[in-house]
């Protein structure tokens, strides 16, 4: 049982960190804000939960487990909500997702910015 838990937790940790890594690279390399937030927030949620679950397997029942659970809940709620809020706020402020034809340019040119709602 111990070994099984260890293996599960390791798998979770490794895959979680893999997702985090991809998210980080995406955050750095993607061309505009919306693709970046896509990369970062999705992998972030998955990666963070996997790592936390992996830790939970290590912790066993107890206060530590409860705290990890709390962090997990919190990061699920807060992370997703924050991403949503960010995306919405940026959209409202006039940042526009990249269309396929202007993918080379970084961000939106000055003149094409939609006016304030």
């Amino acid at each position: 049982m111990e070994v099984l838990f260890d293996i599960i937790s390791w798998v979770c940790l490794v895959s979680g960190s893999f997702f985090c890594l991809t998210g980080g690279i995406g955050l750095l390399r993607f061309p505009d804000f919306f693709t970046r937030i896509h990369a970062a927030s999705l992998t972030d949620t998955l990666g963070a939960s996997l790592i936390l679950v992996g830790l939970m397997f290590q912790a066993g029942w107890g206060l530590v487990f409860a705290k990890l659970l709390l962090i997990l809940m919190f990061s699920l709620l807060a992370g997703t909500t924050a991403s949503h809020a960010m995306a919405k706020a940026s959209l409202k402020s006039g940042l526009k997702p990249l269309e396929s034809d202007d993918a080379e340019k970084d961000g939106v040119p000055e003149g094409e910015r939609p006016s304030q709602q």
Binding site: W10, L13, V14, G16, S17, F18, C20, L21, G23, G24, I25, L27, L28, F33, R36, I37, A40, D44, A48, I51, L52, L55, Q58, A59, L63, V64, K67, L68, L70, I71, F74, S75, A78, G79, T81, A82, S83, A85, M86, A89, S90, K92, S93, G94, L95, D106, G107, V108, R113, Q116
Partner: protein
């Protein structure tokens, strides 16, 4: 195993930090900071296990909380002063 995870998290934090420096828009920075924050939470959790005293997860909770609150604060900041939304580049 913890070490590996911690290392990867550090790398990701580095990447987020680079994004935060580079910009180019404000929201990129906010995103990077947010990402950096969540990674810090994880890192602290891992460090707790690494050091053999996992009962210090309180700090990770506080980090998560603070991270969330500061993101909201920042967003609200821009609801007020969104006259010039992308005045970041220059």
């Amino acid at each position: 195993m913890y070490e590996l995870t911690a290392l990867i998290l550090l790398v990701v934090m580095g990447l987020a930090l680079v994004r935060a420096f580079l910009g180019p828009t404000l929201y990129d920075r906010i995103l990077a900071v947010n990402n950096f924050g969540t990674k810090t939470v994880l890192l602290i959790a891992i460090l707790g296990f690494l050091g053999g005293r996992p009962d210090f997860l309180d700090i990770a909770i506080v980090y998560a909380l603070i991270n969330f609150i500061s993101i909201i604060a920042v967003l609200r900041f821009f609801e007020y002063s969104s006259k010039r939304p992308m005045d970041e580049e220059s």
